[in-house]
């Protein structure tokens, strides 16, 4: 119990220290605004951003955009990560599958995510299907790679335990390979969420934001519109929301994976 109290205390200490820089920057901003040295149009005042946020919450546009982005990211991530898990397992466990698919997957992985946009929009148009596919594609590769690497890099001593205990293939996979690969699989999961989140913004910002087939929704479209209308206050708010939700997602997956591999850290 004492140890837990201690770790809780040190944790809040870490959080406090992490907040020093953002709070200092915020104070500097308020100070500069009060001194009247901020140039209109380039840097807006804190009070104006606050007012815009208030307005955005009142008419629901800001939480609506955030929610649309979050749902889109999670949908694409779930699809891509699941496909990546399946593919990674097959490639990690079967030498034949590796020979068949590994070179192709490795080549496709080299293509930058946004370079898929022309191809995908030709096939799928510029609607939701295209955006989700792009996000899923981004999530797929890190997940597949992490899973495959984890399965292939199970330490030989653990594999030997499976051999001397005469475990059959299925028992070897479930009791040795997958648990041993789990840290790598979870690292792939974290990275895939990160890529999915970045990809979601890119998809919203670059595809379907008024130029091609009308305004899209989500924070990406919100930011694109803000930029178009030179609304620096909205730009700042959009960026802030992207950062906050992104870090929230990251922490969620991190906490989840720490729980799953609690055997690793005493």
């Amino acid at each position: 119990m004492a140890a837990m109290d201690f770790s809780a205390a040190s944790r809040s200490g870490i959080v406090a220290r992490a907040l020093v820089l953002p709070v200092a920057l915020l104070l500097l901003w308020v100070l500069l605004d009060a001194l009247g040295v901020l140039k209109e149009g380039i840097v807006v005042s804190p009070s104006q951003v606050f007012a815009t946020a208030h307005e955005g919450f009142a008419d629901g546009s800001l939480p609506g955009a955030a929610l649309a982005t979050l749902l889109r990211a999670l949908t694409g991530w779930a699809i891509g990560a699941f496909a990546g898990l399946v593919f990674g397992l097959v490639l990690g466990l079967s030498g034949i599958a590796r020979n068949l698919f590994d070179p192709s997957i490795s080549s496709l992985r080299q293509i930058a995510l946004f370079a898929w946009i022309p191809l995908l929009s030709a096939w799928l148009g510029n609607g939701e299907a295209m955006k989700i596919t792009l996000i899923a594609l981004g999530a797929f590769f890190p997940m597949a790679l992490g899973t495959q690497a984890g399965c292939q890099n199970v330490p030989a001593p653990f594999r030997e335990v499976g051999r001397v205990l005469e475990l059959d293939r299925r028992a070897t996979i479930t009791t040795i390979i997958i648990p041993a690969a789990l840290p790598s699989i979870l690292a792939g999961l974290e990275l895939s969420l990160n890529i999915a989140w970045l990809g979601t913004f890119g998809a919203e910002y670059l595809i379907g934001t008024g130029y091609i087939n009308g305004m899209g929704d989500g924070l990406g479209a919100y930011l694109a519109a803000a930029r178009e209308h030179a609304r620096m206050d909205q730009v700042l708010l959009g960026v802030l929301f992207l950062a906050l939700i992104g870090i929230g997602l990251d922490r969620f997956v991190l906490g989840f994976s720490r729980r799953l591999v609690s055997w690793r850290t005493p």
Partner: protein
Amino acid sequence: MADALTLSRPVARDAGAVTIQDVSKTFHVENRTVHALDDVSLAIASGEFISIVGPSGCGKSTLLRFLAGLDRPDGGRITVDGEVVDRPSLKRGIVFQDHRLLPWLNVEENVALSLRSLAGAPSAKKERVQSLIDLVGLTGFEKAFPHELSGGMSQRAAIARGLAPRPPLLLLDEPLGALDSLTRSYLQDELLAIREREKSTVVMVTHDVEEAIYLSDRVVVMEPRPGRIAATFDIISRRPRHRDDPDFVATRRKITDLLAKR
């Protein structure tokens, strides 16, 4: 086959006899040929406790891995109870120096894993796991994970895992090598008591000459380049042995002299 083992009966009286015949192994390292083992032959009787000592590179661990079926010799053959060893089997339990407990399973689950491929009722398996945990003195630590155990406790759990399927032959690869001297001498006595109950043949590889004399019926001294048997010593004094008994001291002197010459 694994299912030829039974959970309930102790090891048969004449099981666990080993014949090692002209076993050789060469490794190729940077265009050089290293004779890890050169025509090694040894017969081990059922129920015997054999220790293999020798400097690093004498091939003692290689030989043990052959006995386990984890690797195969280039030449010669190894049989246990007339059956050629060509792959690992639950009939030959092995305890490694690095306990190799699976870190994601607790003590109970680690021990139970060795019974997974055996036929038998779950309740009988559970009982066997518990009796082994009791035997090695880990009662109360069934749910503990390896990272929560000391080195000595981990090695006890590994011994329990090795013994659980009642292997007629138990292979120990420097099982106490990584432990402090107090834990080590305590576990040596435990090992003798455990073997007394389980009646397996035991082949142990060790660096420690005293440990070998203290525990074994016979000590095999190996020499490197090429790896082969230099001499064997029958240890006939009754147990419990004392490290300052005259014949203990004399045997130790002979073995250390032999090892120093190489």
